[in-house]
């Protein structure tokens, strides 16, 4: 007995970095040695800051009927190091369709008290049910007896619930063992898509797979029921997910597997959901879903006549149509057809952009519907036909042989621009022929111009006028334009109160703040601050921070340790800054910032160019800088170089102008 226990314990000790074949050795409810080992553990050995470690996480789904009905079983065991920080593990929430059923809920907490293992079980009376909304219920329970040091295990079954078709191996805690089993009738056409740091070793035999010690293993085999295929994946020792800066959607970076269901096929029959994008485009989208858009739609003539009027230029016409729809049709969550939307003056994104496309077509433009997935969804795949990931609908119009994308449901963007999250690569065109389009972030450009000028009110006067003007780029303007339109007074007060944000010179007094083009999205939104400055009369030197506007006020790449994911930029950014200063006659230039040119990447992906002209004759100083960044992702291996690039920019921004009394 003693020898067996020691042997078991030694096996456990040796498995700190690698694990025995499967989770059965670690099933805490059936292996006391394993349980005791974890109860005694005071911190995760690899990740000592972890609040908990997932010991094992098991999911099994069986696809019972077509249409996505399945039975699933979920099991998890975790070790608690910091009970006050694991609310997401300790308070369990299971939403499910009202037609399904969550059953066989078991939860046990194990604690070590005075050397003995004490169990606290979840009682049935503490399982709470909430009728959340029509068709959706929520089962909730709180794990009892949790404290620092506890080991917890819970499991439940979902019968006739929604399909568990994706599985996250990686969580915000370290995971020791994670396994996902997906059983389905062999007739189903299923395509798994895997995202992991290391490749899976593939097995064709479940027996060998179950004995495997590989950190990542997978297997596909017919089960004993000859109609059923088992697909299974196992991952071991997964690091907790670390959210890095310049990363849009962490979901797509987490280690996971996702199963795409594409139809079913068997002896002599083949029923794909989407055979290929072109066929789906023609048979479903063009002929059915969006059919009305591509009809003659003569009822739109009156509306078009009132919009276009006498305008002849095609780009102007295209813009007028766009702004008409953007301003007249409000966004809500109701879907309406294009013959109703003008009357109702409201509709959802799909309704609004269908209407826009129909207007363009009726006006004689080449125009299509674009279906895309935004960055919070999986990218659309040319081969996988993952229609479930299509999240948004926009419009494309061709004017003078140039393609413009537009979304009249986006109320803060001008013609030709989409929300930044929509530039997510491969997207589908819906028209008679179909096709694809690449919505790359390089199509989104944010062009900001800043200017600061400091001039004497009168010759030889100590009183200066200062004017600051910011012309915001399309995307930079969104927030501030909205803030101005919501409450201009609050914004003015905020600007006045936060003079630090604008690095104003000591003694600068704001007199007036106003804007240009607050309502006209087709023009740049500009913010102008006018004020006066009284030069101090009894000082020798004056220091001025000329870089009122900085692309970054701190290094945006905060992580100093090795980065794991590429650096993603939302859009192309161009920032141009100009500072002009006329010194008073009794002062002269002592020191100015240095010129600097920085370039990153080959071909150039980022550039920063700072020029300084100090003219002693005219007693003027002119500083210009231009920052440009492409929207190309930068590999994580170059993150440190990029960080240094930003540091050099920050050093430039920290420089001052020093003027001294003559």
């Amino acid at each position: 007995m003693c020898t067996t226990r020691i042997a078991s314990f030694l096996v456990l000790l040796s498995s700190l970095c690698g694990f025995t074949s499967n989770a059965q050795n670690f099933r805490v409810e059936s292996n006391q040695d394993s349980l005791l080992y974890y109860l005694k553990s005071e911190a995760d050995q690899q990740y000592p800051d972890a609040d908990a470690t997932i010991l094992y996480n098991l999911g099994k789904t069986e696809l019972v009927y077509s249409g996505g009905i399945s039975n699933s079983k979920y099991e998890i065991a975790f070790k608690v190091y910091n009970a006050s920080e694991i609310g997401d593990l300790a308070d369990v929430i299971i939403p499910h369709s009202s037609g399904g059923k969550i059953s066989k809920i078991e939860a046990t907490t194990y604690n070590l008290e005075n050397g003995k293992i004490v169990e606290t079980k979840l009682e049935k009376s503490n399982i709470l049910i909430d009728e959340y909304t029509i068709g959706v219920d929520v089962v909730k329970f709180n794990i009892p007896g949790i404290k620092d040091g506890s080991v917890v295990r819970y499991t439940y079954t979902c019968e006739f619930g929604p399909l568990l078709y994706s599985w996250d191996f990686q969580k915000n805690y370290p995971v020791r063992f994670s396994r996902f089993d997906f059983y389905a009738n062999k007739a189903y056409i299923l395509t798994p898509k895997v995202n992991t740091d290391i490749p899976f070793k593939e097995y064709s035999s479940l027996k060998k797979y179950n004995q495997s010690k590989e950190p990542a293993a997978s297997c596909e085999e017919m089960t004993e029921y000859q109609y059923q295929i088992a697909r299974t994946w196992t991952r071991r020792n997964i690091a907790p997910f670390n959210k890095e800066s310049f990363l849009y959607n962490e979901k797509i970076y987490k280690e996971r597997v996702k199963i795409f269901y594409n139809g079913y096929a068997g002896n002599g029959y083949y029923y794909p959901i989407v055979e290929n994008w072109e066929k789906f485009n023609k048979e479903v989208w063009y002929d059915k879903t969006f059919n009305m858009v591509f009809q003659k739609n003569q009822f739109l003539d009156q509306t078009l006549k009132s919009i276009i009027g006498d305008t002849r230029d095609s780009i102007e016409i295209a813009q007028k149509i766009f702004y008409h729809v953007q301003n007249e049709i409000k966004l809500n969550n109701r879907g309406v057809e294009i013959d109703q939307i003008a009357k109702l003056k409201a509709g959802n994104e799909m309704s609004i952009n269908k209407y826009l496309t129909a207007l363009y077509l009726r006006a004689g433009f080449t125009s299509d519907i674009i279906l895309l997935s935004n960055k919070y969804f999986e990218k659309i795949d040319p081969i996988l036909f993952n229609i479930d990931d299509l999240s948004n609908i926009v419009c494309r119009v061709v004017v003078k042989n140039v393609s413009y994308v537009a979304s009249a449901s986006s109320k803060s963007l001008p013609f030709g621009y989409l929300p930044l999250s929509y530039y997510n690569g491969y997207a589908r065109i819906v028209n008679k022929e179909g096709g694809a389009i690449n919505l790359t972030p390089a199509l989104a450009i944010d062009n900001n111009n800043y200017s600061v000028s400091l001039k004497p009110l009168k010759k030889d006067a100590a009183d200066y006028e200062m004017k600051v003007k910011v012309e915001y780029g399309v995307y930079s303007a969104i927030g501030i334009r909205e803030e101005w339109n919501k409450d201009s007074l609050a914004l003015i007060n905020r600007i006045k109160g936060n003079s630090r944000d604008y690095n104003t010179i000591e003694g600068f007094k704001v007199n007036k703040i106003y804007v240009e083009n607050s309502k006209d999205l087709s023009k740049k939104f500009s913010l102008i601050i006018e004020g006066e400055l009284k030069w101090a009369q009894n000082v020798g030197n004056i220091m001025i921070e000329p870089y009122f506007f900085k692309t970054f006020s701190e290094n945006p790449l905060k992580e100093k340790n090795k980065r794991k994911h590429p650096v993603e930029f939302d859009c192309v950014t161009v920032n141009k800054f100009k500072f002009f200063m006329q010194l008073p006659d009794h002062f002269e230039i002592d020191e100015v910032p240095e010129k600097k040119t920085l370039v990153f990447g080959s071909p150039t992906l980022l550039s920063f160019n700072n020029t300084v002209i100090a003219n002693e004759k005219t007693n003027t100083i002119v500083i210009n800088y231009q920052y440009e960044s492409a929207a190309t992702p930068i590999p994580e291996t170059e993150a440190e170089d990029l960080r240094n690039f930003f540091n050099e920019m920050l050093k430039t921004y920290a420089q001052k102008i020093v003027v001294k009394r003559k």
Binding site: S84, Y132, E554, A654
Partner: protein, 643 residues
């Protein structure tokens, strides 16, 4: 007993007439809104009528209102949304959508009314609150929505507040409250800013009292921060002196009576199993000091229990039994306080449950003169011979005897066997709440980073957040705290340590020490080395809203800061310029900023004290100027050194 038929009929006739002219519905054209009401408003309530009938244990409420939405910011007031629970039901929901000209364009479709659980909208993990909602989703401005509903409640323990002006950006044309109740059943009232123009009618007929308040032309206004319990919103709070909750009768004719009710509701729920009692005794038998016994059991609570709010049915008012909390290891404020009470009882130390209004919103705090049920939290009070130990039982970090910002310095209701005792929780003034910080910086031109040692002692309420973070042992939370507290934009912490201390008065303190490397403090040019050491200290609340102030300025806490920055200047450099000294004192603060140079060391000493108090609105300009002046002084320490 039923309400007198004549009066009831009269009320209903009056209600229907008030909202129609000769039987036709009022149309609410937007053009009829007075310009003074549209000013600064996102929406205008055209008419709001509340009828409330209060009988013993039963409340019937009929609410009808019409609101014109002026712009997209007003859309949030356009939907119908009412909550209900196991104590009440909502019925007879009606609604219509009216265009700018006053023409009805849609009626509410009853089968489109959503009825959802309120799960996720509050801190409760589970309760029985549900929401009925409806939205016309109309977006052509202006437009008007009109809604009506009936609420029937089988409990009169909580009467809704009449609050006709939903927000500072909503104006009100006309609002009416009709209230009817038994003559023998008094109601406690608290009125706030009911203008002189409000009409108040009293009718007494038979056994009933009938009151009407009418408000007209209430404009939108600019929100004024830090006004404490003062507010321009007109409201009427009510509390039935005789009420029923879940079949239990209670009285609110005095704080003592109200306290007695809650005492009775929660008594005899503090038993523990024999094993648990033995355990409590074993934990404390060898501890001679009573405070230490209490502290030991409090620590046991904090280490073994967590906060989970499951508040459905009577559990929203009555605590779960102590033995249940002991078994499952979680509970809400009531459950945890009651469990703590049970543990103390097991070792012979009496204590009292305490009802309190917690949080920063002073508007609903209890007042001695108005007996009512506005509590949202429960704590525990342990009276000793020469001291009182207050316990915040939902906190996993606070020491025994200290309450923290959530419940400090406010009225509370002790629940004793003799009834309620109106009392006050302790305050923590600037002698107890302060920051003492010493920072030393070595300036080294030519190096990317500068060495800094950072030593801070946080005491009293200013250490609450840090104490929680420290005790949570959460590295991400600690890093977030450091990012918020450290003024440097780019830095690396080479070494850090945190230590908790406790003073004699049980005021918690945290000592924070860090060795830091901070980048970009200084820039070298041809002639100079210029240094900007960020302080980034916002010591006073920013209450400037660009408008005139009408309400008093409420500073509810006095604090002090003593900061010293010792800057070691590099060899071979001469100090060319530095900030000047500054010192002043007024009603709000005393401030002293001095800079001294001694050889190669430049020392900046900052002493700031803020005074607690309620200051008249006339002092607003002084406050703003003081705040701006201090903010400007405490932005950066800028030095220029010549090579």
């Amino acid at each position: 007993m039923h309400i007198h038929k004549t009066i009831y009929s009269t009320i209903l006739i009056l209600l229907s007439l008030s909202n129609s002219v000769f039987g036709q519905k009022i149309s609410y054209p937007a053009s009829e809104i007075a310009p003074a009401l549209s000013l600064n408003a996102d929406a205008v309530v055209r008419y709001d009528s509340t009828f409330m009938k209060v009988e013993m244990g039963v409340v019937q409420l009929v609410h009808k209102y019409a609101i014109t939405i002026l712009n997209n910011r007003g859309d949030r007031y356009a939907g119908f949304r009412e909550t209900y629970s196991s104590f009440n039901t909502i019925s007879n929901i009606k609604g219509r959508l009216i265009n700018a000209e006053g023409k009805q364009i849609q009626s509410l479709l009853k089968n489109k009314i959503l009825d959802n659980s309120a799960f996720g909208s509050s801190i409760s993990f589970h309760d029985d609150v549900r929401v009925k909602s409806y939205d016309f989703m109309h977006r052509a401005y202006p437009y008007t929505v009109e809604f009506e509903h009936e609420l029937n409640s089988n409990s009169s323990a909580y009467l809704p507040v009449w609050f006709p002006q939903a927000d500072s950006r909503v104006a009100v044309e006309r609002a009416v409250l009709n209230l009817i109740y038994y003559k023998t059943d008094s109601i406690n009232f608290k009125l706030n800013n009911i203008p002189d123009s409000a009409t108040k009618k009293n009718l007494a007929q038979g056994s009933y009292v009938y009151k009407i308040w009418t408000l007209t032309d209430i404009p939108a206004f600019a929100y004024e921060a830090n006004s404490g319990a003062s507010t321009p919103f007109p409201y009427i709070r009510m509390m039935a002196q005789n009420f029923i909750l879940s079949g239990m009768k209670g009285s609110a004719d005095s704080w003592q009576a109200l306290g007695r009710f809650y005492y009775e509701l929660n008594k005899d729920r503090d038993g523990l199993s024999a094993i648990a009692v033995t355990k409590m005794k074993e934990m404390t038998d060898t501890i001679p000091d009573t405070y230490q016994k209490v502290a030991r059991l409090y620590r046991h609570l904090q280490e073994n229990c967590r906060y989970v709010a499951n508040e459905y049915g009577i559990a929203g008012w009555q605590t779960f039994k102590a033995e249940e909390v002991d078994k499952v290891g979680y509970g809400d404020c009531k459950g945890l306080s009651n469990y703590m009470k049970a543990m103390l009882q097991a070792i012979g130390i009496p204590s009292h449950l305490v009802l309190i209004n917690a949080g920063n919103n002073a508007l609903w705090r209890s007042e001695a003169s108005f007996v009512n049920n506005s509590f949202n939290h429960m704590i525990l009070c342990v009276p000793l011979a020469n001291d009182t130990i207050w316990l915040e039982c939902t906190s996993t970090a606070l020491p025994a005897g200290y309450l923290g910002t959530f419940t400090y310095d406010r009225p509370a209701l002790l629940l004793t066997e003799n009834g309620g005792v109106f009392t006050q929780t302790p305050a923590y003034d600037k002698e107890k709440s302060f920051i003492d910080r010493k920072v030393e910086i070595w300036l080294e031109p030519g190096k990317e980073s500068n060495r800094i040692t950072w030593n801070t002692l946080y005491s009293g309420i200013v250490q609450d957040d840090l104490l929680y973070i420290y005790k949570s042992k959460s590295a991400p939370k600690r890093k977030k705290w450091q990012k918020e507290i450290l003024p440097f934009k780019s830095y690396e912490i080479e070494k850090e340590s945190y230590e908790t201390l406790s003073t004699k008065g049980k005021i918690p303190q945290v000592k924070e020490q860090m060795n830091i490397l901070a980048e970009h403090l200084g820039v070298e040019s041809g002639k100079r080395y210029t240094v900007d050491i960020p302080l980034r200290l916002d010591l006073m609340a920013d209450i400037d809203n660009g408008s005139e102030r009408t309400l008093p300025i409420n500073i509810d806490q006095d604090t002090r800061y003593a900061l010293e920055y010792k800057i070691n200047l590099p060899e071979g450099y001469k100090l060319e310029s530095r900030p000047g000294n500054s010192s002043f004192k007024n009603d709000f603060v005393s401030f002293d900023y001095t800079i001294a140079v001694n050889g190669a060391v430049c020392t900046v000493s900052i002493n700031f004290q803020q005074n607690k108090g309620i200051f008249p609105a006339a002092k607003y300009k002084d406050y703003i100027e003081t705040e701006h002046r201090i903010k400007s002084s405490l932005s950066t320490i800028s030095l220029s050194l010549l090579k």
